[in-house]
């Protein structure tokens, strides 16, 4: 998309001065950015940098102490921080999706894979068992889970499979914005690579916007258009991913980039 | 030739008649009097009053007799009776600081103003069955001394003077009454305390015990346990002042708990509170532990997932009248629903077997 075209578009998400404090300690402070439809934003930093706090505040899991999170809803731009909880929950079921670091937090472990994927469809009114099952099988295929696993419970899946199931469950209704918290955390390297490839394909195919929190620079290199580097709760650098990673300006970013093992 | 079984009415009448006979037992044995129960089974009477939420020792004693000693059945009788009573008004809050104590101990200090008074307690008895009791003799009079008129201030009031323990919120608002309004969750501390004081002693005891064993992390000290009588006063608008309408015996327990790692406050002790009708120590102490466990949110603590921290779990299952009613209702006929299940299972089995045969 050309820069000019972007300038005429409404941002999907506009964040201003977002801050969260824990007593005297800073969770995150003065975070601001715009996210456009189809853009993927990576948020990197070490543990304690504030990136998870930021994601929780954006997704409505935590109430920030200050700031606005303006989402372009079906009724126009609305500050989700000020929204009633019911409205925020509705958003979380339709336009938003949240991929948890631990797939067990984002799945119903006692429900079959098909039921897990079908739930959002049923929540928005799908009433044909055959079609729901068909859509579930289709999505299982897209996340590379064999169709004959559709009736198995997630407890019978490997960690990588559970994560892919969680992704299918979230994307089946075509949300516009996906929050991802360390989506490859806890997976071994080859499984990670496969997952990242899958995510990249799905994001492009579906024109998703996403905000991905990770400590792994390889993830942002592969998935993110833009990058925010956080340290001590503040954003110390942001810009295009390749620019930031190839030509880091802030001392901390330089440290991060240089400490990644080159294998 | 099958004839539908009738006679439910006659069966019920006969059952009640038999019940009355069993209640009386062997007629050559003297009948228990309500007064005997009130005097000699006072702790049972206390429990029935506490969980029945009605202070009337005579009625509680009658209920125990009618219930053949089944205390939950007796509590049920008192609760049902309470439903029919008219509400005349509300008393002012009782002043436990003015309590005429017969028992008062503190585990937090060796000695303190008001003293450590053991009172009529089982605590230091050796639990040896006393066969002399079976023989029924006269009990020797216990030694007496004149009652001290010295004030018995609360330990927590003394700790509070130095800011060592958190101050309880005070207010003049009338607390809600959970027997008049349905309990909605999440609820407030006054309603939690109401629910727990009339909750089943065994359940509250187990919940409290669980917090001591690691399901929740409150380490409790009994700051104060006091038993005695307090005056009950009512404001009479026509008179313009309040009038004492009677006395009740109460057990009050305040626990002192360690408070770690607050977000904004330096360390302070925190409280748990228990208040029960009659001399009902076990319940009062248990109540204060459970109260403290349920306060995790307002004290900024972590929810460790302990059952005693789960407000919904504790409050929804504490009422033994609700619990026993629902438990025992499974004795009622359910054959209509069972028939539906039977048909379903038969159908599923038919289909599964047919499927199996077709596969072969």
């Amino acid at each position: 998309m050309s820069i000019l075209a972007k300038m005429k578009m409404q941002p999907l998400l506009s964040v201003r001065d977002l801050s969260k404090f824990y007593g005297g300690r800073i969770g995150c402070a003065d975070v601001g950015f715009d996210l456009y439809p189809g853009e993927v934003l990576g948020v990197v930093g070490e543990s304690g940098s504030g990136k998870s706090t930021l994601l929780s505040c954006l997704a409505g899991h935590l109430a920030p102490d200050r700031g606005e999170v303006i989402f372009d809803t079906q009724e126009g731009p609305r500050d989700t921080v000020q929204m009633a909880e019911a409205a925020r929950r509705r958003l979380a079921r339709t336009d938003w999706a949240y991929v948890h670091q631990n797939p067990r937090d984002g799945l119903r472990m006692g429900v079959s894979a098909g039921g897990n994927v079908g739930e959002r469809l049923m929540a928005v009114g799908a009433r044909h068992y055959g079609q729901i099952r068909g859509a579930a099988v289709d999505w299982l295929g897209r996340v590379e889970i064999a169709a004959d696993r559709v009736d198995d419970r997630p407890s019978a899946f490997s960690g990588g499979m559970q994560q892919r199931l969680q992704i299918a469950r979230n994307l089946v209704t075509g949300p516009r914005l996906v929050f991802m918290d360390e989506p490859t955390g806890g997976l071994d390297v080859s499984v990670q690579a496969r997952l990242l490839d899958l995510l990249r394909g799905l994001v492009r195919e579906m024109g998703l916007s996403a905000i991905i929190v990770t400590h792994d620079l390889a993830v942002v290199r592969l998935l993110a258009d833009r990058l925010m580097v956080m340290k001590g709760g503040y954003v110390v650098e942001q810009g295009l991913t390749d620019q930031v990673l190839d030509d880091p300006q802030h001392a901390y970013t330089q440290l991060l980039v240089s400490s990644v093992l080159q294998v | 030739m099958y004839v539908a079984v009738k006679g439910g009415e006659k069966a019920i009448d006969a059952a009640h008649a038999w019940l009355a006979e069993e209640r009386r037992g062997d007629t050559s044995v003297a009948e228990l009097s309500v007064e005997q129960i009130r005097q000699q089974l006072a702790l049972a009477v206390n429990r029935v009053m506490a969980e029945g939420s009605l202070y009337d020792p005579d009625l509680a004693a009658l209920a125990i007799k009618q219930a053949r000693g089944d205390l939950i059945e007796a509590i049920f009788l008192i609760r049902a009776y309470r439903t029919t009573l008219p509400r005349l008004g509300a008393s002012t809050p009782v002043e436990t600081a003015q309590m005429a104590v017969c028992r008062r101990i503190s585990a937090t200090f060796k000695d303190l103003p008001g003293g450590q008074i053991l009172g009529p307690t089982f605590d230091y008895t050796h639990r040896l069955l006393d066969f002399k009791l079976a023989a029924e003799g006269e009990v020797p009079a216990a030694p007496t001394a004149p009652a001290s008129l010295a004030a018995v201030p609360h330990v927590t009031a003394m700790l509070n003077r130095d800011g060592l323990i958190q101050t309880e919120a005070e207010g003049n608002a009338t607390p809600p009454d959970l027997t008049r309004e349905p309990m909605e969750l999440p609820t407030s501390r006054p309603l939690r305390l109401q629910a727990i004081t009339r909750g089943d002693e065994g359940f509250i005891l187990s919940m409290a015990y669980s917090t001591q064993r690691g399901y929740g992390r409150t380490h409790a000290f009994v700051g104060e346990l006091r038993i005695g009588t307090v005056a009950v006063e009512m404001d009479i608008p026509e008179l313009g002042f309040s009038v004492e309408i009677g006395e009740v015996e109460l057990t009050e327990c305040e626990t002192v708990n360690q408070f770690k790692g607050s977000k904004t406050e330096p360390p302070q002790f925190t409280r748990g509170y228990g208040l029960v009708f009659g001399q009902t120590e076990r319940k009062a102490i248990a109540m204060s532990l459970v109260d403290r466990a349920l306060r995790w949110k307002e004290l900024g603590e972590d929810n460790t997932g302990a059952p005693a921290q789960d407000e919904e779990f504790v409050l929804m299952h504490a009422d033994n009248i609700q619990a026993t009613g629902f438990l025992e209702h499974i004795k009622l006929p359910h054959y209509v629903d069972f028939q539906a299940e039977l048909e379903l299972v038969r159908k599923l089995r038919r289909e599964a077997l047919a499927h199996g045969e077709a596969a072969e």
Partner: protein, 294 residues
Amino acid sequence: MTDQTAYNFAYLDEQTKRMIRRAILKGVAIPGYQVPFASREMPMPYGWGTGGVQVTAACLVPEDRLKVIDQGADDTTNAVSIRRFFQRTAGVAVTEATAEATVIQTRHRIPETPLTEGQILVYQVPIPEPLRFLEPRETETRKMHELEDYGLMHVKLYEDISRHGQIATAYDYPVKVEGRYVMDPSPIPKFDNPKLGGNAAIQLFGAGREQRIYALPPYTQAISLDFDDYPFTASKADHACDLCGAPDSYLDEVITDDQGSRMFVCSDTDFCASRRAAGHVGPMGAPSAGAAEE
């Protein structure tokens, strides 16, 4: 000691009845919505019909004629006990004939005889929350109703079909009321569900222990949940009544000897007796005295 005759009409005091009626009115105004109410302790245990009893007590007037059934029968012990309670505390006339009753309190069945305008059917409800066994927390289920977030309900039906090939709920089968609230119709067999919608009578549901009242005003839409390709069926045992021959009433299975012989009889005793009095005879029935043999 309190005298029996000192109780108010139908046991409850007027304030309490007023409170319950307000809850009933709210329920009738929002069909299928569970209205919280401050349930009173009654002289029978929670779980044994106190919700139904409180609703009935709030509705009764001295001119009413009351019918009480449990499992469809007037003479099961709990029905007897509740009917006696109202005879003692309200002195109302009682009847076993569905068509003659003005108020019917029921546990686990809807009468076979169609109800008419002006009748009130009061259901005893153990667990009012249709989502309870999927989500134990009341705080969550309240939000789910508020947001019409019933995805989990359909997930359960989906799981049934994937595991058993059909929806495996035989009683307590949830319905959607007027396209808005999902409601638990109490543990009536699913055979009775079609009678819920478009019923000429007022249907009131009382859950004493759980402290909820809800309602279906007359001619309200109540649709049993299903999938388009797995539609709801109101099934029953594939028999006719052995006493009266009725082919389409819900049946009780009775084991008649220890060889496993069984017979099926109408669960609705009034319905069966009326049919037999009119001369209908089933395969194992004897003609009713004074009626012509068919």
